[in-house]
Amino acid sequence: MPLRTTAWRSSRLVAALCLLTLVLAGCSPEHYPQTTLLPRGDFARIADDLLDTTVKWAVLVFVLVEGALVYSIFRFRGKPGDSEPHQTHGNTTVEIIWTVIPALILAAIAVPTVQAIFLTNATPKADALRIEVVGHQWWWEFRYPEYNLTTANEIHVPMGRTVSLHMGSADVIHSFWLPQFAAKRDVFANRETRLWFKAEVVGEYPGQCAEFCGIQHARMGYRIRAQKPEEFQAWVAHMQTLAPKPPPAAKPAPVPKPAAGARSDQEVRTASAGATVQPVAGQGPDYATGEKLFQAKGCVACHALYAVNAPKGMIGPNLANVGARSYIAAGTLKNTDENMARWIQNPQVIKKGVLMPNLGVTEPEARALVAFLRAHQ
């Protein structure tokens, strides 16, 4: 029968294509820096373990049910001249069995689910590192009250210490997503939401907003850097040198007393002791011009240039260490001089709708601003 051969050939094609898809896709989450399938934090591991449990059951059910379906397609194919098949209307025993078995499978999923729900909703211990996350259209603000630091679009966390995120929004709903370390949690303007995780490995990874939040939702990425505790402390110490420029005589902003972790606190103080107020790297004539332009072009109205005691509620991202970040414009562009100059001159083309207007910055002006900002390491 020609029709039958066509159908058979097509079904083999389907099988081949499905297999191809599986091979291409399923095998290597390593190729996906944002993958949820290689958990690198305890919270993400809980989610991944649950996924594994359900996937195992799902695959079993899939194989059995689709297998039975395919079997009946071939086994019960009608032939011309067949007499009317036996007219069954049902079978109570069978129907009870196939109601009870799925219920048991669901129970096998429900028990670890409920356990994990309570585990993930637990309040982290007091020694957790508190980080405040604020979602803005379309960038992320990170504050470390323990160290009185503010930064943007690049969050640093220490490996092995639980991080407790206290989150909110400056405008609409966003969702803070840490695919490798935790999961996601929506952020709101009128309530605090929380999430915790402990990084188990070091490394730099991308993350991004996961709740549609307007025209540039796609360009609301951030980077997370999980660091060894000593590297993290060094970063904190360095950040604490990025204090407001005047008055030069003032002591670095007082470090608020952390709830615990006295050793790291001491390190911070030591590192802060001899700090200069402004970064020194790469200062040249362009730097001075850039510094003036930063005022003249009005950049300063929205961006803070220091990490310590930075004001809350700034419209644009904190730029205290912008020169050292790996991306600019919330994960949009690699942080090269060329990209930064492009961005300064024409943000509305690169990220239309962003709150930063085109300010009529000329090319030499952009070069000077880049030199100035690049020095903010």
Binding site: L3, A7, V14, L17, C18, T21, L24, A25, Y32, P33, Q34, T35, A44, I46, A47, D48, L51, T54, V55, A58, V61, F62, V65, L69, S72, I73, F76, R77, G78, P85, H86, T88, H89, G90, N91, E95, T99, P102, L106, V114, A116, I117, F118, L119, T120, I173, A183, K184, R185, R194, L195, E211, F212, C213, G214, H217, A218, G331, K352, G353
Partner: protein
């Protein structure tokens, strides 16, 4: 009554009634014509939604693509979702409600024929209004879910959200009016002997759908009115800076939105439950279990809404409750799938096109159901929500489920509706292209989602690994488009050929197959008396063989309602009232008065018009 048998070639026997021409379609109150109007309109919107999907897929075919701008992309994904849900799947189901419910229960029309016309015209007005936003470059752009407070005037000052809000409000009125109508029709107009537990399963699932519509749509109506007050009159129901709460919107939206999922899938369940027995030559397995699982799904459907909101952080008690209630729904859904397979088991399967799509439905819907259980688990869902994993899941339910089911229904009932057979070979080509295209488009999305691709992003950077699978998906989406082109060719061919469908081409089980194809205006020359389930099989069994081809009769003496244009006027009035509110700053209160006048005129004249 019904004395004179008409010759087959008599012009008066052609079509569904005696009258033809545009005016007869505008004023029609015949449920079959209104069904065809629903179907045609919805299919055009379906193609529009499909084109929107193709544009989305082209954009996502490569990283950092500039084929679409960010605004255009956001408009397209918003309108794709809104169109497919409200303007394609729901009205395609409404086509079958309209055409088939009266025929399957042995009635001459729906309970309120003019209200039925009103529903259609309001639906058309809402659909055209929503899509007219494209002409002004102001298409809605905040997603089909329209989460507050992005929809507030502060963050969405343009008319885009107004078009969405008012369009949905209008469509809701159409759905509610239709739901009242079909509810009453099924309760009151069943033929003698058609007890509730003898109703065809499609009628049962449609009945449950109407109950869901009646209970769920008022919630979105209220939510949209609150949003309208926020936007037009400066209230702060959803605006945090004014003391409102954006989460309130999410609760209201999903209390409507989750039952809506069952509104979209239950009619397909019903269609499959009609097709499988007929093409297995065996009655539906476990009829009572099918009815009660449907009722149970609908009931539970109102207790699971917050599983769309696990990421908002509702706390462990709420998370656990909604996780468990969601998992519970898998049990009655599983019962349905097993009963469908039980229907096929031991049957004599006839592999005609409707059967292909029905089996395709089961195979694909299983996948959608299983991925649904995966994100019923909140900690796992915290990774999956708002990623392409969810996009994969609901397309397996709504495309693999609803669209496969509705397509099965289209091939199954086409001969009855139009009196013409569709081409079997083209139908099977359509099926295979659709099955392969569908899986190529949506299966890789599972992996993309779990590997970190978020939803609703107009582009993605290089280096995140998303390139290859997105390319495959884009190719698959074009295969899907070809599949529906094949369907269009099939329709076009059948339209050019003369009527060739007998009354009962598939050895059908239900009453619609006992009357000529297409049915005459009055459906049944004599109202049938029903003695059991599968009423038409019963009749044939009593006669021990196929019945003679039913003759077309004159229908003289059968009272049918008169055509009326007042429902159209009332429908225009509904849209006018909401438009006058949207343009209140431009036209002032006088606009509202004029619009309300049109609505009042339509309703008044309709109410006092003699029925026939």
């Amino acid at each position: 009554m019904a004395t004179r048998v008409l010759d087959q070639h008599d012009v008066r026997a052609v079509g569904h009634g005696e009258k033809t021409g545009l005016w007869s379609w505008i004023t029609t109150v015949d449920h079959k014509r209104i069904g065809i109007l629903y179907g045609t309109t919805a299919f055009i919107f379906f193609l529009l939604g499909g084109i929107e999907a193709l544009l989305i897929r082209i954009q996502l075919g490569s990283p950092e693509n500039t084929f679409l701008s960010a605004e255009r992309y956001n408009e397209l994904f918003t309108m794709h979702g809104t169109t497919m849900i409200f303007l394609a799947i729901m009205p395609l189901s409404a086509m079958f409600f309209n055409f088939m419910i009266p025929l399957q229960i042995g009635a001459r029309d729906v309970a309120f024929p003019r209200l039925n016309a009103f529903s259609y015209w309001v639906f058309l007005a809402g659909g055209l209004f929503l899509n007219s936003s494209w002409l002004f470059g102001l298409a809605p752009d905040t997603g089909w879910f329209g989460y507050a407070n992005l929809t507030s005037t502060q963050y969405s000052p343009g008319l885009n959200v107004d078009f969405w809000m008012i369009g949905l409000q209008v469509l809701g009125i159409a759905s509610l009016a239709a739901a009242v109508n079909f509810f009453v029709t099924i309760v009151n107009l069943r033929a003698p002997g058609m007890k509730l537990m003898r109703m065809p399963m499609f009628v049962w699932m449609s009945f449950i759908t109407q109950v869901l519509l009646l209970l769920a749509f008022p919630v979105i109506t209220v939510a949209l009115f609150l949003l309208m007050f926020d936007r037009f009159f400066g209230t702060h129901f959803f605006v945090p800076s004014g003391g409102g709460d954006p989460i309130l919107w999410q609760h209201l939206f999903w209390i409507f939105g989750h039952p809506e999922v069952y509104i979209l899938i239950l009619p397909a369940f019903g269609i499959i439950s009609e097709v499988l027995p007929v093409f297995s030559r065996k009655p539906l397995f476990g009829y009572a279990a099918m009815v009660f699982s449907g009722v149970f799904i609908a009931f539970l459907g109102f207790g699971v809404w917050a599983h769309h909101m696990f990421a908002t952080g509702m706390g462990p008690i709420a998370d656990a409750f909604f996780a468990l209630s969601t998992m519970l729904i898998a049990i009655p859904t599983g019962v349905k799938i097993f009963n469908w397979m039980g229907t096929m088991w031991g049957g004599s399967l006839q592999f005609r096109t409707p059967m292909y799509f029905a089996i395709g439905f089961i195979a694909m819907f299983i996948i959608g159901g299983l991925s649904g259980v995966m994100h019923a688990s909140p900690p796992a869902d915290l990774q999956q929500t708002d990623t392409y994993f969810v996009v994969a899941h609901f397309h397996y339910v709504l495309f693999g489920g609803s669209i496969f089911g509705l397509t099965a229904g289209a091939y199954y009932w086409w001969p009855k509706m139009f009196g013409r057979m569709l081409n079997e070979s083209l139908g099977k080509v359509h099926f295979w292209l659709m099955l392969i295209g569908f899986n190529l488009t949506f299966f890789p999305m599972h992996f993309l989602g779990l590997n970190g691709m978020p939803r609703r992003t107009y582009t993605y950077p290089k280096g995140l690994g998303f390139e290859t699978l997105n390319q495959i998906e884009t190719a698959g989406s074009f295969l899907l488009a070809v599949a529906f082109l094949v369907f269009l060719v099939n329709v076009f061919q059948s339209w050019r050929k003369p009527r060739n469908a007998p009354a009962d081409p598939w050895n059908g089980a239900t009453l619609e197959w006992s009357i000529p194809s297409p049915p005459q205006e009055f459906n049944f020359a004599e109202i049938p008396v029903v003695h059991g389930r599968d009423a038409f099989w019963e009749m044939k069994r009593e006669r021990r063989g196929p019945l003679p081809e039913p003759a077309r009769v004159s229908g003289r003496g059968i009272h049918m309602p008169n055509p009326s244009y007042w429902p159209v006027v009332a429908a225009i009035g509904v849209l006018a009232v909401l438009l006058s509110l949207m343009f209140l700053p431009h036209f002032g209160p006088l606009g509202v008065v004029v619009a309300a006048g049109v609505l009042f005129l339509g309703v008044f004249k309709w109410a006092f018009e003699p029925a026939g």
